[in-house]
Amino acid sequence: MAAKRPGIPPLVIIALAWIAGMVLIALLAETIRPYGITAMDLRSRLQPPIFFGGHMNHIFGTDELGRDVTSRLIVSIRISLLIAIGATVIAAVFGTTMGFLAAHFRGWVEQIVLMLIDFQASMPFLILALSVLAFFGNALGLFIVLMGLYGWERHARISRGLAIAANAQGYAAAVRQLGARPMRIYLGHVLPNIASTLIVSATLSFPEVVLLESGLSFLGLGVQPPMTSLGNMVGYGREYLTRAPWILLAPSSVIVMTTLAVSLVGDWLRDRLDPTLG
């Protein structure tokens, strides 16, 4: 095993910079976008990006309604980041809590949690998404909660399994014998030890949420117009994959790059957090 290297590897620095950039874009979205997301110009539809025959005023070209792709991309980053972070946090917190509850109490609490896990896993997400859209319309907050429901069962199962295993390990029993309350044991001891797997799980959540979003857009159930998001741009842009690929490629590239960055940072964080490595 390699000795732990001091400092931050250059690749991770780039990744951090990218993530910081995305967050900055998300925060400043309304200020830096050149056009409104619904500002359409029906005479300049499907303009290519700047180095492919396009104009300076539309760096990434325009879409099928003549709207500026750059502006829509910027606002989409904000919306998708909001959704992904919110959903990941909800899924991780909710899932891990449920997993811990199941591991701690066993008995019928565990049975109920496991039943909810199975329910979540068996219910095609299509139906859940459809119900939110039908009963609550296109509200962003509810959409985030809906996305948060996706994947919590994975967090719950993993944290339950690992918490049970950790409970049986020496340190947990020792700390318990010293009189520590369960909450302290879980938060202070169990959580850090299973943190690495949870971090990986969380870093997977970001792209999964965005992908889920595009899958839902494909089925017509995702973020609805006039709101825009990365998944929404990819979903509606697929029809123009050959005619005007920039509509789909711009958001797709952002998704891939951001996920790569999040994964790299996540791996690095995991390495740092894991006291046993090195």
Binding site: M40, L42, E64, L130, A134, G220, L221, Q224, P225, E239
Partner: protein, 513 residues
Amino acid sequence: MKLTRRTLLATTLLPRVAIAQADQRPSVTVAVQKIANTGVLEPLREQSSNVSERWVASILETPIARNQQGKLERVPGIASAWRRISPTTVELSLRPDVRFHNGDVLTAEDVAFSYGAHMFAANLPADIPQIAKRHFPALERVEIVDARTVRIVNKTPDLTLEGRLSAGGREIVSQRSWMERGDWAANAKSPCGTGPYRLNRFKPDSELVLDSHDMYWGGRPKLKSVRFVEVPEVASRIAGLRAGEFDFACDIPPDQIGEIERVPGLKVQGGLVTNHRIVVFDKNHPVLANPKIRLAMAHAVDCQAIVDSLWAGRARVPAGLQFDFYGDMLVKGWTVPAYDPALARALLREANYQGGEIIYRARNNYYTAETATAQILVEFWRAVGLNIRLEVKENWPQVLDKAGPRGVRDWSNSAVFDDPVSSLVNQHGPNGAQQTNGEWSNAEMNTLSVELESGTDPARRQEVFARMLQICEREDPAYIVLHQNAVFTGHKASLPWTQPPSFFMDFHGAWGA
């Protein structure tokens, strides 16, 4: 009904297929977005939507046909001639040589059955007679004069009977085939008609394969078989066409025409169809109750810009809710409200519009370019100061849902036959969906609808129609006409096929020079 004697006649006359000659005719594969909405092949259930219109006339025929190689004017079909006996009665003379797919000869009994038990029997699924009643609102009886002559008798005078007899839902089916099979669901999936192609197999939501009906009265069909495959994704249909797997790809959006045509060996044909895209109002909405506001919304929309941008100029803004083939019934000089944002703003001021929110419900590309059109409309309306909120809904019940404020919604209007009764009255009259949904109503319009349906003086009917347009599009707007729809089909350039002015994929008359 002497079934046994007819059966005997039919089987003895059935030609033994000469295997000596190899069948050199081509077969084609057609990629469509959807084969059948309801999962069956029965027009009374499927109701001649743009989906089923692709193949119905290949299998089942109406007594009076429409010229798919012309302007859809009425021409002889399996009825070689028709005569108007009285304001309530039309007499049809059937051709002597028409064979069903099971070999039976068409007789007046089949016509009587098709408009009788096939539509109104007690043991049919409950919705069928209701739909049939919409097709023939006042049918009294079908009289068999002799084996080749039949009279359609209406209870009330009806100048549109000929039109009805040429429209979807009024196809003739084989009585023997229906009675023998017995079960409606089984029959609905195995239609036995007189069309140039017969059913080989049908896998709902997957494929529909038709074989040539060699004894077709109109001459031996030019193709050996036609296979419709359901390919829901546009990109997949185009990819399959480019890869050579499909001979035809239907439902091509206008933006993709260039993509197909720049591939050597492929071309796109397209044209207008008898279908208009509209948005309809709910005048119970507190803001929309004032007709000036609705008229303002009509003046705020630049329909030509929508046609030029989303439809590459290949659709068209019609003269109000009218269709060219109305012929003499056309109200000449009538137009949609002109694009005039200043006038729209003035109307809003007159109506004292205070900024109340209007909900606009649309679906996610149920109609071609629906989502794009909806977003464009929202911008036009916002530009004149209206507060519009777009809500994209998943299905029709959610669009029509009375719970929650209804404002404007998307729709389309087809002319089933060449008279305003089939479009304006059908959808916006007293029994039309817009009124039965509780969205709009107008007392004068309703009285005029009744007069239009049963009137006999053509000049008076045209006057009535003009007045109805005035009401529905200016005085108490029920809808805004956006544009006439066009349909585009991509296909291998080498295939000798011409697109008819409808959704019908005609593989008989339209095939060959």
